[in-house]
Amino acid sequence: MEMLLPIVLTLLAAALSPLLRHISGRWGGWIASVLPAGLFVFFLSQLPTVQAGGERTFSVTWIPSLGISLAFRLDGLSLLFALLIAGVGTLVVIYAGGYLGGHPHRGRFYAFLFLFMSSMLGVVLADNLFLLFVFWELTSVASFLLIGFSHEKEEARRSALQALLITGLGGLAMMAGFILIAIAGGTSEVSELLSRGDLLRSHELYLPALLLLLLGAFTKSAQAPFHFWLPGAMAAPAPVSAYLHSATMVKAGVYLLARLNPALGGTDEWHYLLTLAGGATMVIGALLAGPQTDLKRLLGYSTVSALGMLVMLIGLSTDLAAKAALVFLVVHSLYKAALFMVAGTIDHETGTRDVRQLHGLMRVMPFTAIAAVLAALSMTGFPPLLGFIGKELMYEAKMQAPSASLFLLIAGVLANAVNIAVAILSGMRPFIGRGKHHPAQAHEGTLTLWLGPLILGLSGLLLGLFPDLIGIPLIEPAVRSVRAEHVDVDLALWHGINPVLLLSILTIVVGVVLYLLRHRARDASARLRVPELLLPGGVYRRMIAALPAFSGRLVGVIHNGNLRSYLFTIITVFLILAARTFVDLADWPVLSRLGDVEFYSVGLVVLMIAATLMVVASRTRLAAVAALGVLGFGIAALYVIYSAPDLAITQILVETLTVVIFLFVIRHLPRFGERSPRPTQFRDGVIAVLSGTMVALFSLKASGVQMDSAISSYFAENSVPAAYGRNVVNVILVDFRALDTLGEATVLAVAAIGVYAMIKLRKHHGRRAG
């Protein structure tokens, strides 16, 4: 039950947050932080259990019809993520209190934030694939609302939509993938699936399921070519970026891959797809980060690069890689969240995020500066920070990669070097520099604004110095979850002088050189600017921009607003569909029964055909109506001949009244001229003749069938004794099938209301919209 509690409590907090404004004033952030802090403590308290190899589970049925259960499980991997979510969450919530200040909608902001936190916790705790998906989608929704929080800005709206659509697209694909996995594995419970890896990997649905699932994971974790939504999402307020875009949501894809590794991982497909996508993303993110000058965009692109590294590491599928991935995950979350908050603070206190405008802030913003420098050092992988350990592990893992290790190493060094340059540029450069700080009005933020980054920065240092604090209690159980077996985790700063250390040093040197050459790099990239259309982001924007116009044209062709073309389409499609049975219908022998005709009937029919042609051909209204009348009376005569007196009387009365109404109406209409050009007339003629033939054949065939007369003989026998009526037709109308008649009377009633309203209720009687 305690598994459900964090999610429910956070959700409750989300619901109550809008009230925060009324009760809290400037203490809002602190008050709100109680919940995530409590959750952090709670998750910490689970450490011993998990470390000992235990799990917490909770499961109740929810929608068994679809295989969706409320199943939760807390194991090493979940716990690692849960601690990040709650821990970073606490700091972000406090930070947001200062960042938003007296923003009128800060309650709403907290609501979205808690909604996100709740669903993110759900993602990492869910033990049912579909439940996981439900939370997964909820994080997308929450992210949409958070990115678009400053919704009066067009950029915010656009970025929110972009993030939603890209992750939403992936999400839908992933849903299909999940369903396929559930079909292949015969269950949707994650822990069950994990033990059925062999079954899954050998199933014919494995590859499609994997591809679909990867689409979901890759879009969420901003892998190329879907990466562009993440830098775009920098329109979000800083706390959002610090939370969603560094530590939590963008890691959901990584989480999913790590989680399902025992079930799906280890195959060639898995290996190549992940390393390829991850490696490419790592390089692309780094390259794109290079020319950026906006603090947040710099960080955004470097996050893309880092996510690529993570995905690649998971793709390597070795114990070492798993270890490296999880350590780097923690490292990255700590420094990136700190740097995003710092960027937000700078923005908040100076009014700019352009790195070219910022220098010498150390003196006015000392705490922020310390936090930033610590985080940046961790990012560069400088000893003795945790980042160093992460980088060492990463290089080690790459060197031992099953294939292409050289390529991976080169790409890794390059990407890391760029990230080092980014770290210097974003975490150090604004604070250093001689002379007067710039911009002039800059000053230190409040406690809430620097506390979070400082704690995160310090923890990077602390954990670097004492890596065992997380190594055995946290990383080891998590690695166990990913590898489905026990793996020793022994983290240490110093491994002696070995190739890995040399690589680390090389990386830092290259990184510093890149930083120093940054202006040239920027110029070079400006010259090399790839046409926007070729970039995925450009493709997306083009598509979104072109979609309405394209749809308009497409639909304009099909749906042109013209009634006649609608009718034409309907009749044509009907004929096409019916053509299949048309051949069977043409039962020509029926024609031989032409014998039983009476000459007066023939005369009548000929007269009626003439009247019909008159209706068709007539150009004057009166003639057409008169011909219609003749036709109606002709039909009445047929009814008389063929023993239907009630029908005949009805037909005559109705025909008369129709003609009367027609006369009332038609006087005001102009003469009818033929307005269609010849080809249209020909086309219509063909369709008319074909459909007429169809109906004639249909009628012929139907009348040729010997029908079962059980019902009419029942009426014939029971009409008098049971219903006291000799006119069987009338008995049917008022007794056997009285309900039809009641319906028919209702139709008349409604028609009358309609006619009355149409004539009497005119526009000038007044109206209002709605």
Binding site: G673, S691, S703, A751
Partner: protein
């Protein structure tokens, strides 16, 4: 006779289709009326044709004596006629008012009325 009536239904239907594909409102109604006549006739024909045998029980009988015309299709057609009557009464007034409001009886022109 089935054959003749079937052909007549076909002609009515064809004429109806032709008329509803024309551009004049009045011909649209005429076409729909013809279509409904065709429908009634198809039902009537497919129910079987009997001469001089209306489904009315004789004075001293308690049941219809065969052969008799099937009363059910007649009842159905009667209902259908009445329903169509209601619909067409409405539709006729509708085109009158549509013509008044839009100022045209040309269906193509009316389709372009900003709706």
């Amino acid at each position: 006779m089935h054959v003749l009536l079937a052909i007549l239904s076909g002609i009515l239907f064809a004429a109806g289709v032709w008329l509803i594909l024309r551009r004049s409102l009045a011909r649209l109604v005429l076409g729909l009326i013809l279509l409904s006549q065709a429908a009634n006739l198809v039902i009537f024909t497919s129910g079987g044709l009997h001469r001089a045998a209306p489904p009315i029980v004789g004075e001293n009988a308690t049941a219809l004596e065969a052969p008799y015309a099937d009363p059910l299709p007649q009842a159905l057609i009667l209902t259908a006629i009445v329903i169509s009557f209601g619909l067409f009464a409405f539709f006729l007034v509708l085109i009158k008012r549509a013509h008044q409001e839009t100022g045209t009886d040309d269906i193509d022109a009316m389709s372009e009325v900003e709706t």
